[in-house]
Amino acid sequence: MTASNKPRVRPTLRSVLGRGHLSVALLAVGLAGVSLTLLGVLALRVYANHNLHLIARSINYTVEAAVVFDDSVAANEALELIARTEEVADAKVFNNDGEQLAHWQRNDDGLLGHLETQVATALLDEPINLPILHKQQKVGHIELIGQGRSLLLFMLSGLVGILFCTALSAFVALHLSRRLLGDIVRPLRALASVAHAARRERSFDRRVPEAPIAELNELGNDFNALLDELEVWHSHLQSENATLAHQASHDSLTGLPNRAFFEGRLSRSLRNAARQQGPMALLFLDSDHFKQINDSLGHAVGDEVLINVADRVRAQLREHDLVARLGGDEFAVLLTSLQSREDAERIAEKIIASMQLPMQLDSGGSISTSLSVGIAYYPDDGDNCASLLNAADAAMYQAKRTRRGQWHAAQTERSAAEIKNRS
């Protein structure tokens, strides 16, 4: 149970490749070496036996006369002459009565000699017993035991060869696997680094380089194509997001920020102003007679008027001032970093003045309109969004009531009373 719960250690590509190469190489060398050595030993065994029989026969011919004449000395001489130079461990000559006429034995008591005896007894037909014939009559026989030196040397050299080839092929296999690993791992690393950069840093401009292996190259190309698509999709998404964000915070008709955006900016500016103790002014603008224009000339003209008003108001403001359309024909302006109340009043006058020129309509003809402006100051008329907006709204109504197309500054003490009266 514990074994199944234990996380399995995954083998690395290097160890998999190395093990694969090594096992294939060892298997090939082992099979080839063992089979070649076995075949060689079998073939050599046949030849060694044949050779031993040839030696026996040549000994036979040489000692034949000596056996016929029962000449032990001559038989020994002849036997030694041949046996000494051949692979013979022990040779005996017997006459027909079974008496041993000659005997020769190799003096080889070393470790090698012992091994040779083992090999010879295991692999050779021993002892070879061959009758000595003279005039087609058996006159005696010889007994021969082979030495097995060449067999032993062959087996030893085969063993050494197998060991050497095994070591060499293991070395070569490891080297090859290392090279192959490089060919495989390099493209994979490049791929991983590009994928990492794309995921972490959203940098879709990097591409996977070409790889020497076809499959990896294909993978890299597919990955690059995927990155291309991702890049396109990402930029599309970003622009879409920007558009949506703009749409959510701006008025589609005039292109000015909407009420939500304005209130957000206002509250942020209030927080900043509270820290910096700088004066601010909030202007509330309302078009005079806009309802009549809308009713008499149609909504298209009304829209045109609103766009014209927005453009003219924006043209009067400094760069960091903000104008927004709060809804209908109501606009609001936020003036920050003011030196004095007079600055705000001057701007309000400029805005009112910008309306004096008649507006050229697309349908031909022109139309004049005017704005009533209410001004509320921070912190005199309120220190939060709602109170400032209320004060400016009240000042604007005050302006409309007294004289349209003029501005009016809020008077806080009276504002509440004015609102009460109005409601």
Binding site: A65, V68, F69, D70, D71, V73, A74, H134, K135, Q136
Partner: protein, 188 residues
């Protein structure tokens, strides 16, 4: 008649030889050679003689091979009993007188016992020019005449070869036999 006469003389000779042998027997008994040793030597000599015959080639292969024993022999008792060669071919052994004129025609091989110089010379004169293989049993310096000269001892029966005689006889001897021959240390 001549044949009968020949047989008669043969019988007389045999009797004479037997008498000689009987006389000689005690003389040998006095020496180092005992009866058992003599038997062994005879056996060895038979083996060597049959061996030599088996390695010899006559211009015309004689069937049967006729071996003649000439003169008083010491170790030929076994030989005369045999009637087969090593090869299984028939062998005919008989005794002849040293002076036999028909020797060259009647024998393919001659086993020579003790003969005096005159007898020897006459014998070799008679066989010269014929393919006859001659083996001397004893005390032949092997310089003239015999092709093979036996050297009989208790350990071994060795032999020498007179290559000159071999070449002249017309009988071909296998080289193996020539190699086995032991020329005695050169004697003056």
């Amino acid at each position: 008649m001549t044949v009968a006469g020949g047989r008669k003389t043969g019988c007389v000779l045999s009797l004479l030889l037997a008498a000689l042998l009987l006389l000689a027997g005690p003389a040998h008994a006095q020496g180092s050679v005992t009866a058992v040793q003599a038997q062994q030597r005879a056996k060895a000599v038979t083996q060597v003689v049959l061996g030599i015959l088996s390695y010899a080639r006559w211009p015309v292969e004689p069937v049967p091979l006729r071996l003649c024993l000439v003169g008083p022999t010491e170790y030929a008792d076994d030989l005369i009993k045999g009637n087969l060669q090593n090869s299984g071919q028939p062998l005919q052994v008989r005794r002849l007188l040293a002076e036999d004129r028909e020797m060259a025609q009647a024998c393919d091989a001659v086993y020579i016992g003790k003969l005096d110089h005159g007898q020897r010379d006459r014998l070799f004169q008679a066989v010269s020019g014929h393919a006859v293989l001659s083996i001397s049993e004893a005390d032949d310096p092997c310089t003239v005449g015999s092709l093979f000269c036996l050297r009989v001892s208790d350990q071994q029966v060795a032999f020498e070869v007179n290559l000159d005689s071999v070449a002249r006889s017309g009988v071909r001897i296998h080289p193996s036999v020539l190699q086995l021959s032991r020329p005695r240390a050169v004697q003056p």
